[in-house]
């Protein structure tokens, strides 16, 4: 039987992206939409927005995370299969920015889930989002390598589980 990690080698380099608004002003969200539209056309790199986190490699998070959205964001993060990369789009998700003091915010995003790529700007330009996505690819390849190495170093555990 083939080991599960073996499939990582055939993991495609095109990223599937899931976007979650955790309380942003939509400014970043429409820039994400602009990124997939013909002018910036991120689909030429094989990236596309998907409708469910279970199909995604990358999670885009915007906004400073409200109390209401915190458990939802955690659940979305848990549903994305490993290896995964989290990108924060926009200043308020990165640091809180103008929303620095409130009774209903639990952010910034790295307070709730681990973050790999920060894209700054309020909102960031589509070009900046594409640059962030390029960094996410590098990060994902790194993770893939580590996972494969980890599998090579501890084959006994995996084998026990597989049989």
């Amino acid at each position: 039987m083939m080991k599960l990690e073996k499939y990582l080698e055939v993991l495609p380099k095109s990223l599937w992206v899931f976007a979650c608004n955790s309380g942003s002003c939509n400014g970043c969200d429409i820039e994400i939409v602009a990124t997939i539209s013909p002018r910036y056309d991120i689909e030429r790199f094989g990236m596309k927005l998907v409708g469910t986190p279970k199909h995604a490699d990358v999670l885009l998070v915007t906004g400073p995370v409200t109390r209401f959205m915190k458990p939802k964001l955690e659940r979305i993060y848990a549903q994305i299969p490993d290896p995964k990369v989290v990108m924060v789009i926009g200043n308020c998700g990165c640091s809180g920015d103008v929303f620095y003091k409130s009774y209903n915010l639990v952010g910034p995003v790295d307070n709730v889930i681990p973050v790999d790529v920060y894209v700054h700007g309020c909102p960031p330009r589509p070009e900046a989002i594409i640059e962030g996505a390029a960094k996410a690819v590098l990060k994902l390849e790194e993770m893939k390598k580590q996972l494969l190495q980890g599998a090579a170093e501890a084959p006994a555990v995996v084998k026990a589980g597989a049989e």
Binding site: C25, D29, T66, F68, I76, K101, P123
Partner: protein, 412 residues
């Protein structure tokens, strides 16, 4: 309604949804494919902005009000500064009034085109969505050339605006107007002439005139129901005082207002043409003069510190009228209290009415039809009350359902 042995299903949509611009939860009671009742639960992105404003002075609140909504950011800024100008009795120079009207109309253009594109996307008409988004980039370029930003322009300030219309900007804006006059017809035709698009939108999500009045619907949602309301007409502000603007209602064009999604589409698309006319008027009538009442910030802040009283700003944002109320207390630097009512706040009240007796496949379209301020539905949970069995339908499946209906119509 369901009898004892026939159960209705309770179906949450949201809070995270690809077709929505704002995380919002809608609980739908469905009987088979039919929606019997709907409950809306907002609150996913309540950031407590009004509470934050208490620690900031009016100039600082401007950047906060700009980030209430990234699509109609300048509308919120204008509304807020108008309220403050009311309290402090600050007259706005006429050139600044015209520039405000210009940016408001540019914003309306990009917002309406974005909405029309997203509406096409939710019925599975992807080519129209991409066409719409491509057309929208033109106005985004103009906004960027003018203000330096694509979104959250940083244009408004108390007593005026911060950037001037230069001869280059004038040229770009006029070029944009003629571009849309030539190109936008194509988009209008591919959607309104398309029998499938019409079949998906006509008769769906109806809000009658009487309901629209009682539930205080606003903007294009109310106008699609036949209410002749437009603050630019009934309570002119800024440069609109010099213009003759007529509210756009479907009965003037098609003889009758149905109040359905198609009418909302029509009103918005026709308003794009109206905005082009207004932009041209603004550019032609642009008076000379200063940009700000008081360009020196410390002096302005000192004046605002002395101001005491309450002000109310109400302007016609792309989605309907936007209301800001501000209270300043003499001797205090900060805003004492501030209340914001974004147009969707009022339009969401009439959502449950629009859902009634519609098919589940139309739900994403109906939610989008009032142009709620984008984010996304991730999955929904179908709970069968009788057996407590749970079946999870993903958001992808619901959108597929919405698109499947289009395919069905195409075959028949």
């Amino acid at each position: 309604m369901a009898s004892e042995n026939v159960s209705t299903y309770k179906l949450p949509i949201g809070p995270v949804h690809v077709g929505l611009k704002e995380p919002i939860t809608a609980w739908l009671d469905i009987d088979g494919e039919k929606i019997v009742n709907a409950t809306i639960r907002p609150g996913a992105i309540h950031r407590g902005i009004e509470f934050m404003a208490r620690d900031r002075n009016p100039i600082q609140v401007i950047s906060l009000s700009e980030r209430i909504c990234g699509i109609c950011s300048f509308s919120h800024v204008t509304c807020f500064v108008r309220a403050v100008e009311n309290v402090a009795d600050i007259p706005v120079p006429s050139r600044a009034q015209y520039i405000r009207a210009l940016v408001l109309e540019l914003e309306r253009l990009h917002s309406h085109i974005l909405w029309a594109g997203v509406a096409c996307y939710s019925i599975g008409y992807d080519s129209a969505f991409h066409l719409g988004m491509l057309l929208r980039e033109k106005v985004m370029d103009v906004l960027e050339a003018f203000t330096g930003n694509r979104v959250n322009y940083g244009m408004g300030t108390v007593g005026g605006v911060r950037w001037d219309v230069t001869s280059e900007v004038d040229k770009t804006v006029r070029e944009m107007v003629s571009f849309y006059r030539n190109e936008f017809d194509a988009f209008y035709d591919v959607v309104t002439e398309d029998p499938i698009a019409k079949a998906r939108m006509r008769g769906v999500g109806v809000l009658t005139r009487e309901e629209a009045i009682r539930y205080c619907a606003l903007g294009p949602t109310a106008r699609a129901s036949g209410i002749r309301c437009d603050l630019r007409w009934s309570a002119p502000y800024e440069a609109y005082g010099d213009m003759d603007i007529k509210p756009i209602v479907p009965q003037d064009y098609y003889g009758k207002a149905y109040g359905d999604v198609f009418d909302r589409f029509l009103v918005r698309v026709l308003e794009v043409y109206q905005s082009l006319d207004i932009i041209e008027n603004v550019m032609d009538g642009l008076p000379e003069g200063p940009l700000m009442w008081e360009p020196k910030l410390p002096k302005l802040l000192a004046h605002l510190k002395k101001a005491d009283g309450m002000g109310w700003g109400a302007i016609e944002a792309p989605r309907g009228d936007d209301t800001h109320v501000v209270r300043l207390t003499g001797g205090q630097e900060n805003v004492t209290w501030w209340k914001v009512r974004a147009p969707t706040y009022a339009n969401a009240v009439s959502w449950p009415l629009m859902f009634r007796n519609n098919e589940l496949a139309d739900a994403p379209l109906i939610i989008n039809s009032v142009d709620p301020c984008i984010s996304c539905m991730e999955r929904m949970l179908i709970t069968d009350r009788s057996s407590d069995a749970k079946q999870v339908v993903s958001k992808a499946e619901l959108l597929e359902k919405c698109r499947e209906k289009t395919r069905r119509l195409m075959q028949s």
